[in-house]
């Protein structure tokens, strides 16, 4: 057949075409904008704030980034899958509150509290996902509702149980040392103290990146967010993928919640509000598309790193901390415009 002989020639031609230079391929990755942002913001504070130049400052920055970054990795997966989670910020606090109060007030055992919190966090995620696929509402609305409900429940139940807006100190309980070692310990590296949260954050980011790019589930996440109908038509269980993604966010909230609990011993029931937007902002700065189907887990880590640098940089530069939010907003705007431009270039037909 004619087409077969032709194809041999075209194949040779293609081999040459496929030698796209590495830098061009890197420029097509969703996280490249965030990488540029990291360099710029780092250079900015390096110049503006002398204390920022120390290694210990880097450790503090990375710690701030990890607290944002752990949920942000999961939120990035969810956003690639085409959905939002506005409840993640308060869900972190719900998890710490549940663990703390269940342990101190109900069982007297720290580990049952931790376990209950895990079940609760996964259940909140599953509920978000279930409501979403059941009602077919936009996830913005569904999770806005759970966000408001959790916000109310966090404070109301804490007051009911402890008669206070914060929980009791758990540092005296049996098993606290082990819990702290797992979730909130520090170690020394190159003469500075480093939080274990940073290690977890990097591990989660690497796992999520691997899952996205190299596993079937990753393929499904992109497809479900990119074109849900098409995904369904080739037999992908769209609803299960979405519910699963919400549960992954739930898991990340639990993990962060446990870190916060063991780092501070008590929990303020009104905390966490607004963090959900920082998770989303990290994911978006890292290259995630609000409409789904495009983005990167590693990018969300870079996004969180940018916000970590900004939080600490503002402090090291001795400015009013209120500047932080201004920077977050400005960077979000810059990053979305830049990422949009990059994506159009990446998706254009030119080599």
């Amino acid at each position: 057949m004619n087409a077969i002989t032709e194809s041999v020639e075209t194949r040779v031609k293609r081999r040459q075409l496929q030698q796209t230079p590495l830098w061009k391929r890197i420029l097509k990755r969703p996280e490249v904008g965030a990488l540029g942002g990291v360099i710029l913001v780092f250079a900015f504070f390096y110049v503006m704030a002398p204390p920022f130049r120390q290694l210990s400052a880097l450790s503090t920055v990375l710690y701030q980034a990890s607290i944002l970054g752990i949920p942000a990795v999961a939120v990035a997966l969810l956003m690639i899958g085409g959905e939002f989670d506005l409840s993640a910020g308060v869900a972190v606090v719900s998890s710490s509150l549940a663990a703390s109060m269940f342990a101190t007030e109900v069982t007297g055992n720290l580990w049952t509290g931790i376990l209950l919190a895990l079940v609760l966090s996964l259940a909140i995620g599953a509920l978000n996902g279930y409501l979403l696929v059941r009602t077919k509402l936009h996830s913005f609305l569904v999770t806005l509702s759970t966000f408001l409900m959790l916000q109310g429940l966090n404070i109301a139940i804490t007051k009911l149980v402890t008669g206070n807006v914060a929980t009791e100190d758990i540092s005296g309980m049996v098993g606290f040392d082990l819990g702290q070692r797992i979730f909130a310990s520090n170690f020394h590296l190159f003469g500075t103290t480093v939080s274990i949260a940073i290690v977890y954050w990097l591990i989660f980011a690497v796992i999520a990146t691997w899952v996205l790019l190299r596993t079937r589930m990753g393929n499904w996440i992109f497809a479900v967010g990119g074109q849900g109908d098409s995904a369904r038509a080739v037999g992908i269980p769209v609803k299960r993928v979405k519910i699963g993604l919400f549960m992954v966010v739930g898991f990340s909230c639990w993990f962060t919640g446990m870190h916060m609990l063991f780092a501070y011993d008590t929990v303020q029931s009104g905390a966490g509000i607004g963090n959900e937007l920082l998770y989303i902002a990290s994911a978006v700065v890292g290259g995630c598309l609000l409409t789904g189907g495009y983005g990167s887990a590693a990018g969300s880590a870079l996004g969180a790193f940018i916000f970590g640098m900004t939080t600490e940089g503002v402090i090291y530069a001795d400015w009013d901390p209120d500047w932080f939010m201004f920077f977050v907003g400005a960077m979000l705007l810059l990053a979305t415009v830049f990422n949009g431009w990059l994506r159009i270039r990446a998706l254009s037909r030119s080599k």
Partner: protein
């Protein structure tokens, strides 16, 4: 493969309503091994609805649908795919932001490794996708290219190549040649014929082009407003008859008369 008349799919009196719109009524259809069934009909006649039922995308609410004699009520296209029934939908069902090879294998990914290290076998998938797409006569320079950057026709070829690759027993094509050039249309038609005659695949071919249909079809069904208007084997039908039915029967004569004011044209000469 040898016995060309074994029915694979049998629909009896199948119906489907969307709310109070009845999209399909009383449709009976048999898809046999090695046979090409052409489904024709006007826009909105119910062709896509019919094949969506067969492919498991939607489920019927009247009648029975049997595969190899066993009644089915699919809840996901996965179940149909697992039985070797695959479709090229009119909307193509591709994900624009995903690369060509990822789209090709979407939902049927090849994996290697085991346990938690089970991962995509990228190389095999890329090579197979490349080969299969090439077989359909187009050249896509970069398989990593997002499908959204391909031309409409190239996209259609990717969707067809995918369905062909996974449609081990029944291949459903909803207007596959609509966006294709002459060469690619030819390749697709030739493929349809070979798939049926040589590999014994049952093909359902939807098209608005009676010439294409008549070239490869063994059996013709014309739908009109959700009902079967014509259901006949090739032996009992000429191309002119087919075109007559497709154009809405007697309506065509009136139209022809109106347009040509009695010029001596027959529909068959349009080829």
């Amino acid at each position: 493969m040898t016995s060309t008349n074994t029915p694979i799919i049998q629909l009896s009196n199948v119906g489907k309503s969307y709310g109070n719109i009845s999209a399909l009524r009383d449709v009976s259809l048999t898809v046999r091994q090695g046979e090409v069934t052409c489904i024709l009909g006007d826009n909105g006649a119910g062709k896509s609805t019919l094949i969506s039922i067969i492919a498991g995308l939607i489920s019927h609410d009247q009648g029975t649908y049997a595969v190899d004699g066993a009644p089915m009520h699919f809840t996901s296209p996965r179940q149909a795919l697992d039985l070797g029934i695959s479709a090229v939908y009119q909307t193509l069902a591709l994900v624009p932001l995903l690369s060509v090879w990822r789209n090709f294998y979407l939902g049927s990914e090849i994996r290697k490794g085991s346990g938690i290290f089970k991962r995509l076998d990228v190389k095999t998938m890329q090579q197979t996708a490349e080969r299969e797409v090439e077989r359909m006569g187009i050249n896509i320079p970069d398989l990593e290219q997002p499908v959204g950057t391909l031309s409409g026709g190239q996209r259609q070829v990717v969707a067809i190549a995918r369905a062909v690759h996974f449609g081990a027993r029944v291949l459903i094509l909803d207007e596959p040649t609509a966006a294709l050039g002459v060469t690619q249309s030819g390749l697709v038609l030739r493929y349809i014929a070979t798939a049926a005659r040589e590999q014994g695949i049952g093909v359902i071919f939807i098209t608005h082009n009676p010439h294409h249909a008549y070239m490869v079809g063994d059996h013709f069904m014309v739908l009109s407003r959700g009902e079967v208007e014509l259901d006949t084997p090739r032996a009992d039908l000429s191309l002119e008859d087919l075109m007559f039915h497709m154009a809405g029967g007697a309506g065509l004569n009136a139209l022809q008369h109106e347009l040509h004011r009695g010029e001596p044209t027959t529909a068959g000469q349009a080829a």
